[in-house]
Symmetry: C2
Subunit: 214 residues, 2 copies
């Protein structure tokens, strides 16, 4: 991590998208305002925690009624910079890569995958969900020229570090890693990993514990 003036704690930051998800549903139900109490109930949190989390966005609520939904939504999205869509490259057009390019909600999350990359000659030149696939060795050059800031890694574990290096070389500033390895990147590069193993480990351990007690 960089020398960032850590203003908001990671646990708080991680909860913010959950609030947005909830608001998305409530907007459809045309709710006008919402209190921290209700949010907490919906998400299984404590009202105090919700209030504290929301305060990082600078928003203020009103006693008795809570927060104006649209205002809160805007404040959260602004804090995560989701209104300001960033272009991204995706490396690895396998099943997971294809799934990600087809995910319809990323535009709401401030992410726009503009190109995919793969080593498989059969895939190069083809399109997945309207996104063209280029050879992997073009990543660095294209990223630099197009000033792409985000790189998504969906290649197998043993190719992931090389892919990260290429992305860094191309000036990519943030890597979203789906490969099951710990990548090494320079301090100033943001690295965020989605680890299925991590999540599954929590589940299997708890399940084992549960089954044991039966």
């Amino acid at each position: 991590m960089s020398q960032e003036i850590k203003q908001v704690s990671l646990p708080t930051l991680r909860r913010l998208p959950r609030y947005i998800q909830l608001l998305k549903r409530l907007r459809r139900e045309e709710v006008a305002s919402i209190s921290a109490t209700i949010i907490a109930n919906e998400l299984g949190l404590e009202p105090i925690q919700v209030r504290k989390d929301l305060s990082v966005t600078g928003i203020t609520g009103k006693p008795k009624t809570g927060f104006i939904l649209e205002e809160l939504n805007a404040a959260l999205r602004d804090f995560l910079n989701w209104g300001n869509t960033q272009d991204a490259f995706l490396a690895g057009a396998g099943a997971l890569g294809v799934a990600l390019t087809g995910y319809p909600n990323f535009k709401d999350y401030g992410l726009n995958i503009i190109s995919a990359f793969d080593n498989n000659p059969k895939k190069i030149g083809t399109k997945i969900h309207g996104i063209e696939i280029f050879p992997v060795d073009k990543i660095a050059d294209l990223a630099a020229r197009m000033k792409v800031n985000i790189g998504i890694i969906t290649v197998p574990a043993d190719a992931a570090q090389e892919m990260a290096d290429i992305m860094v070389e191309g000036g990519i500033k943030a890597i979203w890693n789906f490969a099951p390895v710990q990548l090494k990147v320079p301090e100033e590069v943001i690295l965020e990993s989605v680890s299925l193993a991590q999540s599954l480990g929590v589940l299997t351990h708890k399940l084992a514990f549960l089954l044991e007690r039966e």
Copy 2:
């Protein structure tokens, strides 16, 4: 969460799979023993933290050399119950579902997807990665009869809660949710969610912060 005698903290539990991943690589390099110091260096953690984490498995190391790799690996996998593969149902044979069924490493993580379920009549009866697709309304009955403990949800957000309800009805004890919603399940059911939005939110916020300072 249940009334579980919380022995191991969630942060620790979440790090355990990372240790296993590292060991997987080191095993191929035929390393015989490894110290907490080295593990910490590889994963960007503190040696003390690693030692404390590993201690939950009951393993002990030797001064100067550390832990015997195979022993450590076994202890970690045993703690997560990864040696004891559990059958799982997957609901939602879309792109993400397909990607998950094709993921080759789940068998190492104690997970075995045995059947998939979908509402699309065109998909029913077909196979993905050797796994047959059944109609969604069969989930509860089949889960109960086959004593399947794990359900994986990869359906769209608005169908996810219904799917969770069906799984619970079928006696499924642990749900691995990939839909971007907060599911409501009975207290005794384990719920573990993979939230792309959460992870992406951390990334986009940090990136915005970084770009702002340039």
